[in-house]
Every structure is written in C-alpha cells, then in structure tokens.
Symmetry: C2
Subunit: 408 residues, 2 copies
C-alpha cells in the first residue's frame, strides 16, 4: 500500500470531530495496524503502465524518488475539494476532507470566540468574527452546520453567554435546493428545522469571490465572516489529472469497465475504484458507500484465487473476472442537529405507484428515528474494536460533560 | 486569568502522551470550562507594579497591545526548558514541556520508523534514524525513556519486526547519577532495570553540541541520532528575565517572602508561585507538587476573606497573611517502564538511625507496587470527572489494543 496519509479515515464521522463531539483518533485507523501489508508513506507521482511500475516520492525526504514494480494495481486516490476556480477560495476558505482540515476548523472557531471576547473588540468586530459561512448544500456541509450549531448552543452559550447573540451561521447553496440526493421532502424538512434554529439557508446563492473578510454572492450581496467552510463538491486530484493517456469522463474521473479495470488504454491488471473512477455504463455517486462496495468486490476477486498456486492464479483470476460490479444502493443519511437526522432508503425516491404506503413509511425517516439509525449505522461500520469502544464513549462524554474547548 | 495557553496541562502524565498511551486531551483541562473566570488568551508583556497594571499582547492579533488593571496579582508563569547555551539544542532537539512538544515527539518517532522502512534506506541510515537520544537524568527524561521503550517493544516490534533490532535508546546525564532526588538506591535500581532492557545509560556525559545528525559529548564521542529529546532542566522565561527591578535568585527565579509575596520591591498585592519563584528562606524544587501547594495556600487566603464585605477585605486579608507558606513533602515518583516504577516517600532519605526498618520499608517503593502507587496517585489528582473516565479508559485501550500509530 502506498499513500502519503498513514491512516484510514472514516469520513462520514469527520464533521463530528470539527466540534469535539468525537476526537480525531477515534475515526482513524492506522494503516500500520493492519497485518501482512507492506506500507510506504510516499506519494505516487506517476504510473508507468507499460512497465508495470509506479513512481513514488518519499513523504519525508522529498528528493528521494523511487520506482516500484507491480503485478496488479488498485488505483484508489480519491479526489480533492472543488473550488470551481472561484477567486480567493484556496487562500481564505477552510476545507473538510482530512483530519488536518477538521483540526483547523475546530481551532479556528475557538480562535474566533477568544478574539471576540477581547475587551478591545467592537460590536462590529464581534458580529463579523462570529459569522460562520458554510458553502455547499450536500450532506457534508449540512452535517457540519448541524454539529457547529449544537456545539455553540450547548457548550459555547455556557462559556460565552455575552457573545452567543452575535453568532450567525449561514449556509449557501448555488442550486435551488439542498440535499438533492435525499429528495424534496427531506430537504424541506431540513430547511425548516435549520430555520427554526436560526441558521440562515440561502439557496440560489452562487459565491463569486471570497475576500479576506467577506464572501460575495452573484447578486452582489456581501456576507462578512470570521470563518468560511467550503464543502461544495469534488474534483480529480493532481495525479489523476496528469495521467494524460488514460480516458477520462466529462468530470475528469477515470473511465473503467464494469469489472472496474482501466477502460482505455485497456490494462486488465489495473483497477480504479472510488471517487477517482467512473464506470462507462453510468456514473455512480462519489460516496463512501460506492467505494466500500467496489473495494469489497475487488477483495473478493483476489481472495477467491489466492488460495490457488501462483501458476494457476491468472487463469482463475480471469474466470473470477467475469462477474461484473453491481452497486446496491443502501440509502443515504445525514445528521441535521439536535438529535435529529434524515435518512433516505432505497425506494424512497421511486415514482412507482405500486410502492405501497407501508413500504414508503420505512424508506424515509426523519427526526429522532433517523438520527438513531444514523448513529447505529455508522457505529456498526467502524472498523476496529478499539474505535467501537471509543466512539460511543465520546458520544456519552459530549452528552454529559460537554465538548472540549482547548486548542493546541 | 491571562495566558497564551488556553488549557491547564497535567504535566506529570505528559510523557505518556508522547507514545499514545494517553491521548493529549485527557490530560488537559480547558480554562474556558471553569466558571466565573474572565479569561484572556493573551501574553503578558510587562508588569507595571507602580500603576497596578499589566500589559498584554493579544495571542491572535499580535499588534493588539492593551493594559489591564488589578487589585491583586498572582504571577505564575512557570519556566522554560534550559539549553545551558549549548550550540544546536534549540535548532535540533525536541523539548517536552507543552502538548505541542509531545505531539511533535510522537510524530517524529513515527516518521523515523516510516523513513527507516523505505527500501531506499541503507543499514547505516536505519541505525542512525532509529537511534533516539534522551538528554537529562531527571524524572521527565526517565519517564519518557520508559514510555518510549514500552511503546517500541510492545507495538513497534509488531509493526516493524525487521527494524526493531536497529533501535537504540541512549540516556545521557551530565552528573554522576540519575534521579538525584530519589536517592542512590532507587537510582541504581532504575539504571539496572534500564540496562536489562537494553537502554544505554551514560552518566558523566556532558553534551557539548547537537549537530543535525549527531550529538557530541565532552570527551569527543559522537552519537548519531534520529531524534534528540532534551529534558535537562529549567530556566526562567523571557518575561521573568525582563522584570529587571524585581530581585532574583542565583538561578534567575523571583525572590518571594514566606507569604509568597514579592520580596523586593515589596508589593503586598503581588504573589509569585510555582517554578518562577523562590522563597528567600530556601529554594523549593521546581515541581508540580510545590506549585500545587502554593496555589492552594493562596486560594485559601482569598477564599477565607471573600465572604466578607469588600470594605473589610483588606483588613481580613492582612490577618490571613500572617500564616506563612509551609511546604509538606509528599514524596516523588517516576514510571520506569514495563509496569514498574520508583517512589521515594518522605523519610526515605532521612539519615536518622531511629527511623526503623518497618518505616523505611514503606517509604521506598520500587517495581510493581511503586507503579500502582504512581497510577493511583496521578489518577486521583486529575481535575475533572471527564478525564477521570478517559484516562483509565485509554490505559485499558493501550493495554488491550495497543497504541495508535497514525500521525496527522
């Protein structure tokens, strides 16, 4: 395994770590804890498919470039936050993809409160500092907004009673609705709930630039801010962009066959999975659920054949390869704050009239039930026993003792 | 309360966080969680005792300098790591005073293993990278060495079986014995134990310079290293040094009366406690135990009188002030690795022959008993209920599941 990041990150719970509901290490799994894996903390710089070799750059001594041969390659590099080329985003906004990002966001919000509490800060300073703008209407930004609001109202209000009225949270979405993959009913439920909690939700609000102290929308409206969290969408990362010979989709993702092997040029021994790939028969959403199923599909292929002697490996592998990848949608879910969630299970969005009322009732959850579903689903998906102990413990701690408010 | 650091740090357990036995946040207590305290995250730049004002610099907008008046001042700024003016220490060594330091040390050791595991690193590279030098023979460096060894042998050996034989840990002490405050018998016990565990203990080894890849001793011997941890002693910090009018001791600490007020110039409303102060009647060791008792002494003074009306405050306060501070030695202890510790309780070092064997037996502990004493003592000293739950939980986690090996 080659990666500049030495841990696996359980991204669905990343938003919870930005506020200290969970600690960073309980949603990561160190790669080094896995058995029988040779791991290199290096960055892949290029892929020489003709030679069956990849080119690596050492993460620590960056002048150390070396090559590594392979028989089979699984290309699974993910993607990066998309700034849509909007000016000032990379310089001024905070992203939410990695543990480091979550740490930065957490420290930033704490910093804003400390700065606003200074006797030298004016009323206007306070209003600006305590204005948080979240850009994007997908599950990541919704969950971040929900967690932020919970944190500030449950813990912030106790610590900074004189500041809490200065807080404004604004959620910006460029299209005409949030949570598009959940359907209009759950989106409406979420918007209503956010508005009751005094979170401003502005749809049809495209950001055109992010200056040091304000965000400007297309209609000229300027929103002063203390922090901007940018979670609008994804774009291919540098390595994927640089693989010039490989066929890409319109969105820049690598085209793969239904067996998840490279489509063109065709190499049977290169698999691409996750956000960076797209099957030519139809694009799947760039979610963890898809990547997870793709990972299992490939693992199954290799596991079925590794029991055989090496001489028969290729033949068995090719046989195994006849089963193509088939995505099974298990639904989507999001936490929306205050012990409430939204869950859209398969069939929820079916237009089929034969889907009866009873079935529909269980394919669309909102409120406490959806939140319980959300917690139990993510809890069962955690990868290690240690984290299965830590995560509920921190949930309990946040509930009873509040969230930690120190930065270092 | 004014401090650039927004949390209280339980320093005695800091060494445990360098290896992930404990997580950073379970030994910190956010200042903001305390009730009825106005906190400023600022750095004190100067004290204008004549005007009863202090000068502060904002920790975030560093050009923001402001003054704050006081009736009473408690000066408790601690001290900083002492490099004894040895060349290269500040540039190349890692210190162990703050949470950030512990994070850096933890990440550094992980980095060394990742670098050494690269196929491009030679046998010599590995030997150098995996050589850790700890400078200082006090409890901090002893505990760090012990934790490091536990970590590497329990977790490192599983993850890097091919590298573990390249690891060398060297402890350097300039004087002729380690753990001087514990007495010769416990020092000898510790040295024997360390040597059994293949930790090199070099006494009478004064470091004269720290270059980028090696440490040089006075006798010319050069030790190549991957990491140097510097924990030799303390020196006054910049603010204390700059308070030119205040009388200082030979070691640069501020001289205080037996009531812990400023000795010269005499200001009854300025108290100095902790590492930065020294009573004129005799120096106390710069330990948490002394600072803790001094803090309680001052708190008692204020608490006894705050129930009275403000007009009578000064009078009561002066009365209260007649009781001078008296340090009660409750002993010293250190963890030395592998479920063993050393504990020196009062009377252990008494030369009095009347102290009978029975009494002596309980004033000097070593091994498992001392370790249990160490754990229970520190456990009871933790300040919050949340941390009293977290700390044993992490001890349990480290014991069963090992320590986390990811860096971010």
């Amino acid at each position: 395994m080659v990666s500049p990041r030495n841990h696996f990150l359980f991204t669905p719970l990343l938003a919870s770590t930005t506020t200290g509901t969970l600690e960073f290490r309980c949603i990561t799994e160190p790669i080094r804890h896995l058995d029988r894996i040779a791991y290199h903390q290096s960055r892949c710089m290029d892929i020489d498919a003709a030679q069956n070799e990849i080119v690596l750059r050492d993460s620590f001594e960056t002048s150390n470039i070396y090559r590594m041969p392979y028989d089979y390659l699984v290309y699974s590099v993910g993607s990066q936050a998309n700034d849509f080329g909007i000016s000032g985003v990379r310089q001024n906004a905070l992203f939410l993809k990695q543990v480091r990002d979550a740490m930065q966001i957490r420290n930033k919000i704490q910093e804003l409160f400390e700065r606003a509490s200074k006797p030298t800060s004016s009323r206007d300073d306070r209003d600006r500092l305590l204005s948080v703008v979240v850009v994007g209407g997908g599950p990541t930004s919704i969950e971040y907004t929900a967690e932020l609001y919970d944190w500030l109202m449950e813990d912030g209000a106790k610590m900074f009673p004189e500041l809490i009225d200065h807080v404004t949270i604004t959620l910006l979405e460029a299209s005409d609705n949030i949570l598009s993959m959940f359907g209009a009913d759950l989106a409406e439920y979420t918007i209503n709930r956010f508005r009751k909690r005094k979170i401003r939700v502005l749809t049809n609000s495209r950001v055109v630039r992010v200056e040091k102290e304000f965000v400007e929308l297309q209609d000229g409206y300027q929103i002063p801010y203390g922090a901007v969290v940018w979670a609008t969408g994804l774009m291919p990362n540098t390595l994927t962009n640089n693989l010039g010979e490989w066929q890409k989709s319109k969105t820049g993702r690598i085209c793969v066959t239904d067996h998840l092997t490279l489509h063109s040029p065709s190499y049977d021994n290169i698999f691409c999975i996750g956000d960076c790939a797209e099957t030519i028969s139809g694009a799947l959403p760039p979610t963890g659920q898809v990547a997870n199923q793709q990972g299992k599909y490939i693992a199954r292929k290799f596991n079925h054949v590794t029991a055989k002697p090496w001489s028969e490996f290729e033949q068995h592998f090719t046989e195994q390869n006849k089963v193509s990848f088939n995505f099974v949608n298990r639904g989507t879910m999001a936490y929306i704050g205050g012990w409430k969630g939204v869950t859209s299970l398969p069939h929820h969005l079916d237009q089929d009239t034969k889907t009866n009322a009873f079935k529909r009732r269980f394919t669309r959850l909102q409120g406490l039930r959806a939140w319980l579903f959300w917690r139990s689903a993510y809890f069962t998906m955690l990868t290690s026993t240690a984290n299965r102990i830590l995560v509920p413990m921190y949930w309990f701690k946040a509930w009873i003792f509040g969230r930690d408010f120190s930065r270092f």
